[in-house]
Symmetry: C2
Subunit: 196 residues, 2 copies
């Protein structure tokens, strides 16, 4: 999961760990809490030992750093780029609370339309299944659950509905060959296109 995100960011430009984390937070912050260093550094190590990224200790010529203990700059390799494309195309059986979908979505601009549609539709299918499960729980076991638990189920059900609608719009946009932007989840009527 982190692999994909890290490779994606390093694909754009080489970076050191701290900066990487900041960019990860900005890019994935919408659906995911900040990445912990306890995940980041081991992952970098794993990627490095797998030959997907390389380490460029820059003890020389780093503007804000005088000398010793220079920061470690990571760079993606050719194998890393291949692996990135591979991970990008592969949409696992992610569960609804799996951050995998979000990471894939965040890199949709590097994906072809067919893959985008496949991932969006897969996501929609999973959310619909979940919604069905919640409906069943509410219908069958409503008597045995207390008011707070019921309220929680309702809220979850509501969130499902909204996400399905969101995905519907994205899929429609995708099929008509457009880019997302101000389709809006909240019934705002189409504006003129915002991004070139």
């Amino acid at each position: 999961m982190l692999d994909l995100a890290i490779l994606g960011l390093l694909h754009e430009s080489a970076m050191h760990g701290y900066e990487l984390r900041k960019q990860l937070t900005a890019k994935l912050g919408a659906f995911r809490a900040a990445i912990s260093y306890g995940s980041l550094y081991p992952t970098l190590r794993r990627l490095q030992s797998g030959g997907l990224i390389t380490e460029e200790s820059s003890t020389t010529a780093v503007p804000p750093l005088t000398s010793r203990r220079g920061r470690v700059v990571y760079k993606i390799t050719a194998e890393g780029k291949e692996r990135f494309q591979e991970l990008l195309a592969h949409a696992g059986p992610e569960t609804f609370d799996d951050p995998g979908f979000g990471v894939h979505f965040a890199f949709f601009s590097r994906t072809d339309q067919a893959t985008r549609l496949r991932i969006l539709e897969g996501r929609r299918r999973r959310i619909e299944e979940r919604r069905e499960g919640l409906r069943n729980t509410l219908a069958r076991a409503a008597e045995r659950l207390d008011a707070y638990t019921l309220e929680l189920q309702r809220h979850g059900l509501d969130a499902c509905d909204r996400e399905v609608r969101w995905l519907d719009e994205l899929i429609a946009t995708e099929r008509s060959g457009g880019q997302p932007g101000r389709g809006t989840t909240t019934s705002t009527p189409l504006d003129p296109p915002e991004r070139p």
Copy 2:
């Protein structure tokens, strides 16, 4: 996290692992994927070795089971009940995607009003912080992000708005001394009360 949920369910009635998982899925399914056995059994073991639950191997008198390899029934102890109350009252610095809030909420019927308010307000504060962060990202870095990433941020921001509104309503209800139910997040005009 699982500790609280398991103790809570066993507080209601003794159960074996399989049944426990089903109930967990029903109770927490709104915000959390199904609990894995790879988490459940080790957790039961941990709780047991901590003296919070006990094991009642029922090789005798189990209706649908003839003899050997009987299911293991877990039962909460007095220490377990104490620990449950302790965990219930303690609202950690959970992040927005932390399931901890959901578990706490699911057991609100066993909590006093002051604690409920404290947890709801804490949650709201964290969501508001997150929302602020997303707004900043959208305002400051919009130029450097592609259309899909932006759409993701918008969706996340929207989800924050809705959750804050939901929490606002719950807090208001709580303050006025009521139980949740059909306040409704989606502007439905109050129905006649559904639950007695």
